[in-house]
């Protein structure tokens, strides 16, 4: 039972990192005084508090066993990848292509899902968003690749 509470240790470290980063980065804004606070005052103070809280999370966790961490990296990769692909392709290629590409990628996170099923789903969702957002809500969004 040597396992430490990894989640709290890493999370606490992350908080210390965010806090110190905010304190250093906010140095470029004027700090002001307590009665005349500058734009740097609040971020620097918050950064300091966050770093202290991070330390308070880590300290007890060092002496305490904790649960194992489980990360679903594959799902995270496909889901976030799908969002980035959508953002990247929306302007040049339009709504239909971007939606189909993103759905194909996102659906790959699911284990039991045939290629045919994924293609059908992608086409179905593309048709659905076209009807809802373009036909129904008349949203100003590029639908087809540029130049068409």
């Amino acid at each position: 039972m040597k396992q430490k509470d990894i989640g709290d240790i890493l999370g606490g470290a992350l908080m210390i990192g965010f806090g110190i980063f905010a304190m250093i980065y906010a140095q470029r804004y004027s700090f002001g005084s307590v009665s005349q606070m500058g734009p740097g005052f609040f971020p620097v103070v918050l950064g300091g508090v966050l770093a202290v809280l991070g330390a308070l999370i880590i300290l007890p966790a060092l002496a305490r066993p904790g649960p194992d961490l489980e990360f679903n990296w594959k799902t995270l990769f496909f889901v976030i990848g799908a969002i980035i692909v959508f953002a990247f392709t929306l302007r040049p290629l339009g709504l239909i292509v971007a939606t189909m590409a993103a759905v194909l990628l996102a659906a790959s996170a699911e284990r039991k899902f045939s290629l045919k099923g994924r293609v059908l789903l992608a086409a179905g969702i593309a048709a659905l968003v076209f009807v809802i957002f373009r036909v129904g809500l008349r949203m100003n969004i590029p639908v087809w690749p540029r130049g068409f």
């Binding site: 999370g11 889901v79 980035i84 659905l128």
Partner: protein, 510 residues
């Protein structure tokens, strides 16, 4: 304006066809996502936030609120039929609801929870009407010092009571406050933390932050998770009718649950989940035969359902009377109001009577609609429960992307969603809850503003926070919460260590 004139004005507002339509859409969607495990209220409301840019403020709020209290109804359906809570606040309904299904009394359980929800909601609305103006009247005397300490108290309460260990909750609040400082500072005009991106000068969009932390993180957690087993029951109205004993046994629990829920709903940091657990615990304590609980006792589903629905209504008290949201969903409601340039606070009722009373009456109408949606249409919801998640989540992702894009017509915000999604997922895995972060993010700018103004007025003397009695009281309660939280976390840390040690010893003894 008296209550009577207020209600008249409210009826006039809420009965407009547009408002009615959005009310129906809200409660319909609320029931739907309440039924489906793996899509929560927060994710849905953040998904709908972009829509609110395009419609008038009253229908927008009516719709968002409908999702919120509608989900409280839908959540118990999955709890009763599948032993799988559709929303966190209906988790406790599993304890006695699922045994009722096993005994073939699922229909009765669904009927009783719907009626209990309805009574709880209606009485909760009454509490909302009575307490909001009273609290707003007190708050009229608050200066910036009181506002600052009250927000501090709210944030500390939300992070120490609701979520896991207090240090982690507080860290998330502070991280949220920091994220809230991104963008142009109102006082000096300096753009902070924009990292050279012009889009960040307006700050991080609330829509992108909420969708990343709640929508995306929830999708990643729910993919590949096992869901609905086959449900065999068929529901006819006759199979749902409770016996006279059932009704007699659930009458008092519904009233007690409503009382508990109304109280905890209005407190910052407690919310609907804690309200339903408290109501269940109370029923178990006052019962003549506590051993019946967990085996299909009807009190065990009636009280918690009345409680979480009452709490869902009274949660609006601090949000509308003070402008201080008590939970993450209310923070989103506040955000939606701010999007429309409305800052709730003590003057809200007198300055926006149409909106306040319109909301109140629409809650009443919405709850009547919910009873109609839930009782005769129960079969529809049950068949929706059978939809596989793999068909749903890609569509949810696309809706999130398009929704975020539509707010500013800019793909930049979609990248922010991806970034916030990664952060939200990783932090959730480390055991950090995202709700305090959202509260901090929404309240951050107002807190900075009130802190600045207080110390400017006192010429930099922090003693002003202790010299004013109301502010000092808020600070004292905050201190008590912090000490209590520290004590609790030290104790749980020790007991965890002892438990692990005992386990290790037992293993080595073998």
């Amino acid at each position: 304006m008296g209550v009577f004139e207020g209600l008249l004005l409210g009826f006039e507002t809420a009965m407009r066809p547009e408002t009615l339509l959005y009310c129906f859409f809200g409660v319909f969607l609320g029931t739907l996502i309440g039924v489906l495990p793996g899509i929560g209220t927060l994710a849905t409301i953040s998904l709908l936030l972009p829509v609110t840019y395009h419609i008038a403020p009253i229908p927008a709020l009516v719709m968002l609120a409908g999702v919120w209290y509608g989900a409280q109804y839908g959540g118990s359906i999955a709890s009763i039929l599948l032993n799988l809570p559709g929303t966190p606040s209906s988790a406790v309904v599993c304890l006695d609801g699922y045994p009722m299904t096993q005994q073939g009394r699922a229909g009765v359980a669904l009927f009783v929870t719907t009626i209990a929800s309805f009574i709880g909601s209606m009485l909760g609305i009454l509490a909302l009407v009575l307490f909001t103006p009273a609290i707003a009247a007190i708050a009229l005397q608050f200066g910036p010092a009181e506002y600052f300490t009250m927000m501090l108290l709210g944030l500390v309460a939300a992070s120490t009571i609701a979520a896991g260990t207090p240090a982690k909750g507080l860290a998330m609040v502070v991280l949220g406050l920091l994220l809230g400082t991104v963008g142009t500072d109102v006082n000096s005009g300096v753009a902070r933390f924009h990292f050279g991106f012009a889009q960040l000068r307006d700050g991080i969009s609330l829509v992108a932050l909420a969708m990343g932390f709640f929508g995306i993180a929830e999708v990643i957690n729910s993919v590949n998770r096992k869901t609905s087993a086959a449900i065999r029951e068929k529901f006819t109205l006759r199979s749902m009718l409770p016996t006279r004993t059932d009704l007699r046994q659930s009458a008092l629990p519904v009233l007690r649950g409503t009382g508990v829920g109304s109280f905890f709903g209005a407190l910052p940091g407690t919310g609907t989940s804690i309200a339903s657990f408290m109501a269940y615990a109370l029923e178990k304590r006052v019962a003549r035969d506590p051993s019946r609980f967990g085996k299909g006792a009807i009190e065990g589903i009636a009280a918690p359902e009345a409680s979480n629905n009452a709490a869902a209504q009274t949660a609006f008290v601090p949000t509308l009377a003070l402008g201080i949201p008590g939970c993450a969903t209310m923070a989103l409601m506040l955000g939606a109001l701010i999007i429309h340039g409305i800052q709730p606070g003590p003057l809200f009722i007198s300055q926006q009577p149409e909106m306040f009373w319109g909301l109140v009456v629409s809650f009443g109408i919405g709850n009547i609609l919910l009873v109609i949606l839930n009782l005769p249409l129960i079969g529809v919801w049950v068949s929706i429960l059978r939809t596989p998640y793999r068909l749903l989540y890609p569509a949810i992702l696309i809706f999130i992307c398009i929704g975020v894009f539509s707010v500013r017509n800019n793909p930049f915000d979609i990248y922010i969603v991806a970034l916030m999604g990664v952060m939200g997922y990783v932090l959730a895995r480390f055991g950090f809850s995202a709700a305090p972060l959202l509260l901090g993010f929404v309240l951050g700018p107002l807190m900075e503003e009130t802190l600045r103004r207080t110390l400017l007025l006192s010429r930099g003397d922090p003693a002003v926070f202790i010299e004013r009695p109301i502010s000092a009281t808020f600070l004292a309660i905050t201190a008590v919460l912090l000490i209590w939280g520290c004590y609790g976390s030290i104790r749980s840390s020790q007991s965890r260590r002892a438990a692990m040690q005992a386990q290790a010893e037992a293993r080595s003894a073998e």
